[in-house]
Amino acid sequence: MNTRETILTRIREAVAQAPEVPEPARDYLPSHTPNDPQTLVNLLAENLTDYRAIVHHTYEDTLPDLLNQLLSAHGTQSVLVPPGLPEHWLQASNAQQIEDSSTHTPHDLDTVDSVVTGCALAIAETGTLVLDASPDQGRRRITLIPDHHICIVRAPDQIVASLPQAMPRLDPTRPLTWISGPSATSDIELDRVEGVHGPRTLEVILLSSRSGD
């Protein structure tokens, strides 16, 4: 008998006498937050800030200027751009735009200052951004190696209240990266320090359409 069969046989023998277990009761709350768009936007901003992400609010027409400001303030010379990022978003920036490509080695990416991406959705209650490697977000590594990540969330369309509301909207066959604040560690005397291996600065832009647009 090969190992696979041995293990499966052991499992069957181990639980042969065990009683059947019913389907789990899912009587926990579908969310802990009133389902009001403005409440969700505020809560997401509050929770992101609590974990040291820097949050900005803007509109479609003012986004290019804001991006230019943020990149300049960071001293960014070069910025990584996923293939599906709307072109006009970076039209006001003078930073050199580097389109993500599979020919880039990790060492190449390490020389880039910033990365700008969209996201798949954001979860207000936990202050979490989820990236699913869609064209406006690019491959997982581009949001990992540069030290500065700017992530744009369409508010309120891409914001859900809770994990139970997020799960059905995500596609598990795609590689997902869930981001809640910048890289952090609490390994030294449980003092939280931001920035170990991932981006040390995470800026989130909550992008709204102007009312009446």
């Binding site: 590689p175 030294i188 005397e189």
Partner: protein, 472 residues
């Protein structure tokens, strides 16, 4: 490299050493009390905590009842998504499989995400024996590895070290492994984290093979899930060309939806955060994003034996959050090393003797490494009744009749005789009271019990004499 657990003394011996180390006690007390208070706040934010806990328990129980079909389903889905699944009955087989996979790549070094399963099987040592260097990349694991130390906590393996000790370890040993620490390294956590960042980055950027565990494996979709904070996990999971994940068979969960429960309960129980900074999920391989080759090694190593025990199998519900360590009065004083296993604290006291059996002194002593106060059960996000399992394991150890238990049996037999002979009991009590001044503080021959406790003093007169004089 990191020490091993071979030949560890039993818990009482190792704990006594730890209790007498004031630095260790101060480090542990600070850390456990900090996280304990934060966790209570994070849990209190969720009004439905009790229901989430119950759902987590039920999902895991149902998983264990149908573990065979779920593993087969997982294997099918991982394979369909481009991964390769291997099965390992024990540590030796798992180590052999992983070593062969690394050797096939032609590489001589690997980067590792913190993983309890690979520590449990001693993978780093096995790779080293094959001439392969395994670099731990979690900050705490790096501290442990550079300090030639052993982890002492599930979540914060270097919890027993303070910043001054960590500074010294980095300053003296980083250079032997790669980029040295800067000359002016201070003991501020930010400076230490920065030194680790620079030291490890050169390893991440050139790594061709990554090794990880997983927090969850979703049977329905074949998806693996890793929760972390630093980004070292993402580095190891996405930059190398080959990814090898070694995961205990009990880590499978039935459905994608089940994650909505555990992603709410695990971070809050573990680091007291609403959510950990990074979670990665992947399903097999993805074209031009992440590793080209993905291997999943499914590990038994005592888990099926644990599953066969009706009372003890609930230990397999564990999601390794470490909340039970942080509330345990015994762990707080004894520290993680005293448990002689990668799984310290209350969960270790029930998991290790079940995974390894109770033949050794250390494993036979672990079910006694508790005051049965029940705090561990209260905080467990999957409601493992740790005290119940401890008592159950004590029965098993006692039935085998080790050295300590023969003494206990003789004492109980003598007590039984005395209590059945009232005249002898009365005479004995009076003699005992009259000779109080001569009583020793400890009992010779019962040092395992009395070395750390004083005998209670006897009253001046027996209770029954007092009763006769004052109440009749």
């Amino acid at each position: 490299m990191s020490g091993t657990y071979l030949g560890m003394p039993s818990f009482p011996v190792a704990a006594r050493e730890a209790v007498n180390n004031p630095t260790l006690r101060a480090n542990l007390r600070h850390a456990t009390h900090t996280i304990r208070a934060k966790r209570a706040v994070a849990v209190a934010e969720l009004a439905d905590w009790a229901l989430l806990r119950e759902a987590g328990k039920q999902i895991k129980d149902r998983t264990l009842r149908h573990l065979d079909t779920l593993l087969v389903e997982l294997e099918e889905k991982v394979t369909a998504a481009g991964g390769v699944v291997h099965w390992a009955a024990d540590a030796e087989e798992a180590n052999r499989i992983v070593t062969e996979l690394v050797v096939e790549t032609g590489e001589r070094e690997v980067v590792k995400v913190k993983s309890m399963a690979t520590q449990e099987i001693g993978l780093n040592e096995a790779l080293e024996a094959a001439g392969i260097a395994a670099y731990e990349t979690d900050l705490a694991e790096l501290i442990v590895q550079l300090g030639e130390d052993r982890p002492s906590h599930i979540l914060v393996p270097a919890i027993h070290r303070n910043r001054g000790e960590i500074r010294d370890i980095f300053a003296t040993t980083m250079g032997e492994w790669g980029r040295p620490a800067p000359d002016d390294l201070t003991d501020s956590p930010a400076a230490l984290a920065e030194a680790a960042r620079l030291h490890l980055r050169e390893k991440f950027l050139r790594a061709k093979v990554g090794i990880s565990g997983a927090n969850f494996m979703v049977a329905e979709t074949g998806t693996l899930v890793v929760l972390e904070s630093e980004g070292n996990g993402r580095m190891c999971l996405t930059l190398p060309e080959t990814l090898i994940s070694v995961v205990g068979i009990e880590k499978v969960i039935p459905s994608w939806r089940d994650l909505e429960v555990f992603l709410q309960t695990l971070p809050r129980s573990s680091t007291a955060e609403r959510m950990n900074p990074y979670t990665s999920t992947w399903t097999g391989t993805t074209d031009s994003d992440g590793p080209k080759a993905f291997h999943l090694v499914l590990l038994d190593n005592g888990r099926t034996a644990t599953l066969a025990d009706e009372v003890g199998r609930q230990a397999l519900r564990c999601i390794r959050c470490s909340a039970c360590l942080n509330v345990c009065p015994v762990y707080e004083r004894a520290g993680g090393h005293a448990y002689g296993s990668v799984y310290p604290g209350p969960i270790g006291a029930i998991l290790s003797p079940q995974l390894r059996g109770t033949q050794s002194d250390i494993d036979a002593s672990l079910p006694y490494a508790s005051s049965l106060c029940g705090a561990c059960y209260e905080v467990c996000p999957v409601a493992i009744d740790i005290p119940e399992v401890l008592v159950h394991l004590r029965e098993q150890v006692a039935e085998k009749g080790g050295k300590g238990h023969r003494l206990e049996k003789t004492a109980m037999k003598a007590a039984g005789w005395i209590l059945n002979h009232p005249a002898a009991l009365t005479a004995g009590e009076r003699i005992a009271s009259k000779t109080r001044a001569l009583h020793p503080k400890t009992v010779p021959g019962a040092s395992a019990w009395t070395d750390s406790r004083d005998l209670p003093a006897l009253p001046e007169q027996p209770f029954r004499d007092w009763w006769k004089k004052n109440r009749t």
